[in-house]
Symmetry: C2
Subunit: 255 residues, 2 copies
Amino acid sequence: MARDATPRLPRRSNPSSDRAGSDGRVGNLILRSLPRKESSQLFPLMEFVRLKLHQVLHEPGEVIRSGYFLNDGLGSLLTTHPDGKTVEVALTGREGFIGLPVIFGFKTSALRVVTQGEGTAYRVEVDSLLRILSQCPELETQLQRFSMVLGMQSTQLAACNRLHDVAERLARWLLMSHDRIGMDALPLTQEFLAQMLGTRRASVTGAAGSLQKAGSIEYSRGRVRIVNRGKLEEEACDCYAAIERQKKRWQEEAN
Amino acid sequence: MARDATPRLPRRSNPSSDRAGSDGRVGNLILRSLPRKESSQLFPLMEFVRLKLHQVLHEPGEVIRSGYFLNDGLGSLLTTHPDGKTVEVALTGREGFIGLPVIFGFKTSALRVVTQGEGTAYRVEVDSLLRILSQCPELETQLQRFSMVLGMQSTQLAACNRLHDVAERLARWLLMSHDRIGMDALPLTQEFLAQMLGTRRASVTGAAGSLQKAGSIEYSRGRVRIVNRGKLEEEACDCYAAIERQKKRWQEEAN
DNA sequence: ATACATGTGTGCGTCTGAGTACATACAAGC
DNA sequence: GCTTGTATGTACTCAGACGCACACATGTAT
């Protein structure tokens, strides 16, 4: 299969992208939508950070110290269980914010949040954010709406987990990731996917194998490459489309 | 088994409870928590309504015209699928509000909402609610926090649907209902439970049978009676406890 | 009393996926 | 080169649940 030559941490050598704080390069859609009046209050409080692969941002039951506006890369929200099992219940990229409970006055996270792929984010201390939030109505609105969208996503996934088999869910998951990560090659091991889908690694082998046989994806040793997105959409359950449909509808409805 | 004599719509003959708008009898916890300044604005806009069994309050994709503050009874939020399958993704009673998307500026519902058991609610037209919402900060806060709590619930159910078997989920569901409906006898058919749990009716027969054999419940022809709640808690998966735990924690954290 | 609708018990055959285990393939370091 | 750790392929048994179908029970209506 075609291998892409992306090394582990290649962009360390490109310092220019480290200084994205000066606006033009902001990837996060919430930040980009803010009026100058609000972003000029918010940006001085934030720090541009680089996120590593599988970095844990929040842990269930622990106090949330920082929120994150992702610019690129991807955050998975997982439930954790005593026996070590995990299930992904929501997924967000640059369209969202990580740390929603604090917006509503709660201090702890109910979920584990881990990054997938490398990425960058603007990190903000919760105290700082809350201090300016009441003076930033547009930011507040955006965050609240995003929380509703994310909630809708998780309800759809709740149903998906009940009704659909591993291959459908895997295809659905790849599509959701693909949308957010913006590249065809994703750094994914079967073990990681098993944790996302709440299933066995061996089941992922089977599902990924059949997707590859169908020509939707190619993969090898921790790299998945999407080669035929259209086909992948056919193989995914309708949950992917349902989420996108509702998101779009709400976007249009919100004045 | 012991039958309770509750007829279908018995309380029609008790007009006094129809006029619960004058405060003392308000069951909804959000309404009860409001300062007089806000409730005096809100109550004139609302209508006390009686909800029938399995009444559909919202339908996915349709515009939400009214919101509901339940006083008693129970609302199930379901995803619907083209083939008629449904899965419950969240459950609320008098602690909440039905119609959350409108709070965030969205107009349509993503989910079907159906009542379970009979109940009463304060119904409010969306337009009216939105008109006063900005002048009712406490109401706004309560609604937003509730939306977060409900979202957390649905994430836990997403995992539950993936990891736990029918009997555990049934026990969990009965506990959640029991908490909210406040009676030991619930009007539930196996067919209805199957739709809530997203499974076959026959699977419910099996699960309910084993719960009855264990002495946790008794049931017959559309009536389930919880006879040993402690035992039921043992048989449920940890998801029930996890939801309650997090809810309580957040309640304490919110100043 | 009879007929009917509704609710429940049960019995197939089939299949997905869980749990587990082990073998192979590849990559990086010595 | 060789070793080691990680990633993947595969095989096996078993339990749970699926789809389907039908019989029986119970309460209501005529």
